[in-house]
Symmetry: C2
DNA sequence: CCACCATTCAATCAATGTGTTGAGCATTGC
DNA sequence: GCAATGCTCAACACATTGATTGAATGGTGG
C-alpha cells in the first residue's frame, strides 16, 4: 500500500504544481519559446525572486527545463505529454463554464445551441463564399494560434466593437472547444444587432486536431537582446 | 464581491482541487460507482467530516455530483471530460517516472527497453499460441479495467508471487501507458528468474483506445434514473 | 582572477489549506 | 413525536504555501 500512496501522492503533487495561476501563466509564456527569468518575471508581473521560485517549482515537476546562455538562464518547456494535460484541463474548464451557462439559459427558457455548423460545413462555405471568421477568445489565446484570417474580438468587447465586422458577410464565431460557450453568447449578440452569424461546433481545438492551417500572431518568439 | 476570476485562475482552481491525494483517492473510488459518504470515508481512511469536506470541494469543481437515497447521500462522477483529464495527468506522471528511470538505467549502462512488442504483435500471438498476460499495475487500477484474461501482480509484489505464473508459457507484461516503466522492471525480474517475458509497448491506455476488449473486476458505474 | 549581474537561496510573515471536534439538520424507523 | 442515523457546518489548531526582502552564488566577460 505504501507504493500506491506514493503514486497518488505524485499525481497530487503534479496537479498542485499546476494549481497556481502564476505558474500557469509562466508555463504559457514558456510554451511560446525559451525565455529568461527576467523576461518571464516581466511578462507575468512578478518579482524576480518570486518568478524564480515558481519556475523552480515547475522545474521540479518536470514541466520546464533550463539551460544557460551567457549570463541568462533560459527556461523552456519540458519533455513529455504536457500539452495534452493542459488541453484536458482547459477542456474540462470549458465544460464547467458551459454547464453553468446552460443552467442560466434553461432558467430563461433559451432555445438550444443556435444550430452550430461543423468544421466540414465551414470549410465548404469558405471555399464557396466569403465568410468572416470571428475568434471570441482572449487575446493571448488568439496569439497562440487561430483559424486563418480570423478576427479576434474577445466576447466581452464584442458589443462595442461591432463596427470592426463587415456588415454584409456571414459571420462564423468560435472559441476553444466544443464545451466553450462564449461563441453562443457572441452569436446571440450578433444576431441581436441584425448580423448573420453562426457558431462553429467544435471550436479551435478540433480545427487544430484535424491538422488544418493555424495562424499564429506575428511575434512568436522574441528572445530579446 | 470579487467573483471575477480570470480564465487562468479558474484553471488553477481546478488543478488545485486535484492537487490533494485524498481528493484524488476519493475521485477514483467514485469513478468506480456511486458511493455514500460513509463508505468513501472508510475506503480512503478519512474521518467522516473530513471526507465530507473534500467531497464538497470536488463537488464545487464539478468533479462529482450528489443525490440523496434514503438516509445516504450518494456521490457519483460529474459530467464532462473528467476521465481525459485524469488520464492526461497519469500519462504525464508516467512519463516523469520513465524519465527518472532512464537516468538510473543510463548510469548503470543498461541495455535499451527490452524490445517491447506492439499491440498487433500481441494480438497475433494470442491467436496463435497461449500467452500469459501480466498486469503489473496496482490492484485498484487493475479493477478499473484490464486486458482480457490478464493476471494482476503489482510490480513490487512480483518477486514473491512468481509461483502464480505458469512457467511454461510466454509472459507479456504491461502497465498503463507508453511512458509507464513498471513493465520494464517486471520483464527484467522475470527474465532474471528464467522466465520468457516481454513487455507490451504502449500499455493499457493504448489497448483501450484501440477499442479492444476490456475486462473490469467490479461493477461499472450505473447512472440510474 | 576580478567585478559584475542574473539568478537562486534563506528568512520571514501573511494567506490558505487541512484535519479535528462537537454542534446542527435532515430523513428514516419506531 | 422521538431517537437513531448519516451527513454537513462552524470553529479552532496546525501545516503548507506564497510573497517580500536582502544576502549569497556562480558563471561571464573583461
Amino acid at each position: 500500500m505504501n507504493t500506491h500512496q506514493t503514486h497518488i501522492e505524485t499525481l497530487a503533487l503534479l496537479a498542485r504544481t499546476l494549481g497556481n495561476a502564476h505558474r500557469l501563466a509562466l508555463l504559457e509564456h514558456i510554451a511560446q519559446g525559451e525565455r529568461s527569468v527576467e523576461r518571464l518575471a516581466e511578462l507575468t508581473d512578478l518579482s524576480l525572486a518570486n518568478a524564480s521560485q515558481h519556475l523552480q517549482h515547475l522545474k521540479r515537476a518536470g514541466f520546464v527545463q533550463t539551460r544557460r546562455e551567457g549570463k541568462n538562464v533560459l527556461y523552456r518547456l519540458g519533455t513529455g505529454p504536457i500539452a495534452p494535460l493542459l488541453v484536458a484541463l482547459r477542456d474540462y474548464a470549458d465544460h464547467q463554464q458551459a454547464r453553468i451557462h446552460d443552467l442560466v439559459a434553461d432558467s430563461r427558457s433559451h432555445p438550444a445551441r443556435l444550430e452550430p455548423i461543423s468544421r466540414e460545413e465551414l470549410l465548404r462555405r469558405m471555399s464557396e463564399e466569403s465568410v468572416t471568421l470571428l475568434d471570441v477568445r482572449s487575446e493571448d489565446e488568439f496569439a497562440l494560434g487561430h483559424l486563418p484570417g480570423a478576427i479576434n474580438i474577445p466576447v466581452e468587447e464584442l458589443e462595442r466593437r461591432l463596427a470592426e465586422l463587415p456588415a454584409k458577410q456571414n459571420i462564423v464565431a468560435y472559441c476553444r472547444s466544443p464545451y466553450c460557450v462564449l461563441s453562443v453568447d457572441a452569436v446571440a449578440a450578433l444576431r441581436a444587432h441584425g448580423l448573420a452569424a453562426q457558431r462553429l461546433a467544435n471550436g479551435f481545438v478540433d480545427w487544430k486536431a484535424a491538422g488544418l492551417d493555424v495562424e499564429t500572431a506575428t511575434r512568436v518568439y522574441d528572445p530579446g537582446p
